[in-house]
Amino acid sequence: MENCFHCGDECREDSLVFQEKPFCCSGCKTVFEIFENNDLSYYYKLENTPGISPKIQESKYDFLDNAEIAEKLLEFDDGNVKIISFLIPSIHCSSCIWILENLHKLQKGVRSSQVDFPQKKVRISFSAEEISLKSLVLLLSRIGYEPYISLENYESKKENINRSLIYKLGVAGFAFGNIMFLSFPEYFEINEFWLDQFKHIFRWLMFSFSLPVVFYSGSDYFISAFKGLRSRILNIDVPIALGISVLFIRSTAEIIMNTGTGFFDSLSGLVFFLLLGRFFQHKTYAFLSFERDYKSYFPIAVTRIKDDGEQITEEQVQVYKVQKGDRIIIRNEELIPMDAILIKGEARIDYSFVTGEAEAVEKKSGDKLYSGGRQLGGIIEVEALKEVQQSYLTQLWSDEVFKKDKNSGFQSLTNKISKRFTVSVLSVAILSAAFWMFYDPSKALNVFTAVLIIACPCAIALAAPFTLGNLLRIFGKNKLYLKEASVIEQVAKIDTVVFDKTGTITTNKQNSICYDGLELAEEELEMLGGSLRASNHPLSRALYSILDRNSIKTPEVFQEFSGQGIESDYGDKKLKIGSAAFVGNKPVAEGTLEKTSVHVSSNDNYKGCFTFHNSYRNGVEDVFEKLSAGKELIILSGDNEGEKQKLQELLPAGTAMYFNQRPGDKLEFIKKLQQRGKKVMMVGDGLNDAGALAQSDVGIVISENINVFSPACDGILDASMFSKFHEFIRLSSKGISIIHWSFILSLSYNLLGLGFAVTGNLMPVVAAILMPLSSISIVLFTTFSTQQIASGLKTK
């Protein structure tokens, strides 16, 4: 079978051939023609089958004609020249970058465009006189790069990128290099005439280089130490700030009194290495966002019906402006943004997003529809019952759990050890100063400061950032994307894992069925295939593709009863396929009501039913088996109990299961577990888990396509790596033991240094060697050992 020249999908029987190239659909062919006509076929040379099959509904972007909404989306606007940034999830290869940066060849009026690949964004500057915002969006959609515009875009302020860490690192590195270079002559302490002559200017130059290091680059440590002290916590930044200030004051005193060269080199080196650790820990996945709420899912505008007595018109209106009682039109695949009552049309609402229920529900006119449901099928008309912010789904976000910072109460390993460390360093410093006071008072101050300098816990402060930063990268390569490094420490402490069912441990595709009832004859199967093929209902489609019949019989008369089933007539035989009530009056077997099933009858004789099963992800049994040793496992599902028995067979005994849990219930459930002192990890997938994800100690989202948005969480795991789930938890605990080992290693360096310090022999050159040496060996140790423990992840 051939693959589409544009998108690479398999071509079916009804594929097209154009210019001797196969295309899977006319959409792909059209994109190819557009590129070909505009001399942009280089697109196909850059990568094989780079394209995305375009799927658009032109009416979807009508709201961009509304000037007020359009204005909010623009980044810059001076009347004619406008600049806008789009998030385009389908950006995936170098061809995408090339075509999007050559938009100006395709469309007059586009002045320039620039792609930010990691963020999957394109920034387009265009001339409003030649092309409107709407036609620009439509152009992008037509070539397969549909921008993602949601309610979030409407509110987002100009994001300020915080680059202060790079500046601070740059300043510290710059000063470190220059000070090293200036202090080099004095390392050898040659009492040479010329050196003696110039050493003052060298020293004062070093002093001036160290000023920005202490007061700018190091400022974070002082602020954090101050905050810690104020709330009576001895965090790791306290001894660091102490070390930095003692280094600076003692060095300045030395050069003023002309007693020595000071420790400016060690000072700037220390700050530089510390910031380097911070920079390393700070790995971000630009294309993912861990802070999403309902706004990234909700549409920016809806179609409102305006009835001014004489004529009825449709208008595009911003969703926040929709009032109670307004009539709204919802089209196929559109989300219902507020609680509403169905007025007209056939509604099939997919609530999987909100409740986790897999099956779409049919609604009749007069039924209540909840926000967050997605309409499948035709156009419906609804009347808003509430405003957006007061609706069922959106109210979840008014829970205070979304406002508090999750990590505020968390005490990291480093800060824990720092408490004991600071106390013992201070006592060593005071004790040795007291000793020298008695023995040789002139050296007492010298020794006191030397102890504080050498004990500055540079290596301890580096151990966690480098270990966790490394693990973060390794996890990222294995498709577990964590929000920040400290999440790993939290994961290591978990004792309870709560799983959502639908979409988390099951796949989103329903692809296994079983048949219950009287056996169907070959002829009946052929007829069944023919009838199913004629139907557009998702269940018919799914069943048809699973049955995979070679020969089918097309019915003579075919009729579809919406919400009930299909009836097909073959002359002598009549087939009814659909819901139990529609097909026949046979009593339905116990339990099947809760499952998704399709019933069949032939000539009004009930035959049996096909039952769909959610298929479980590969490795679910294994993951649960491995986790059940040492961790409490819980299933928390928004779905009904239909799958309970199967789950009990599949999962290890002792796995608690709770069904029919609404989003708010899940949140409360996690809260109760935590009140019992459990450290809870929540594993979920949809918005219905959002509360539980936010409440839990660690919230992980399983995602089949990481470009599709996931609710706010601490980490996103690609579904294909689900079978390694337990490995990630195991690695996190191992990472913590690496940090413990590094602490021991760096403490031994500190003891060695203390030997120099308490005896009053700390030379600047010793400090200058010992400090970077300890830091570098910690970095090497953590890097190699994390690589070592992670090697298991790859081979298995």
């Binding site: 930010d116 680059r163 790079i166 110039f198």
Partner: protein, 64 residues
């Protein structure tokens, strides 16, 4: 030997020039996206068509 003042001044000034260049490049956003430029530089330069032909092809798109 007072030439050393001169040399020191020159070395510090040179270092400062590079430092300022670094700060400006960060401010400019050069470090915000460090991936895309590495791809972009590999694109080949294409042949430029005469303007008249370009016009007509743009019109073709519009009719699509």
């Amino acid at each position: 030997m007072s030439i050393i003042y001169m040399l020191l001044a020159v070395s510090v000034v040179v270092a400062l020039i590079f430092f300022v260049a670094f700060i400006l490049s960060v401010k400019d956003g050069q470090y915000d996206d460090v991936y895309t430029p590495s791809v972009r530089m590999l694109f080949e330069d294409e042949l430029v068509k005469p303007d008249s032909e370009k016009e007509s092809s743009v019109n073709k798109v519009k009719s699509n």
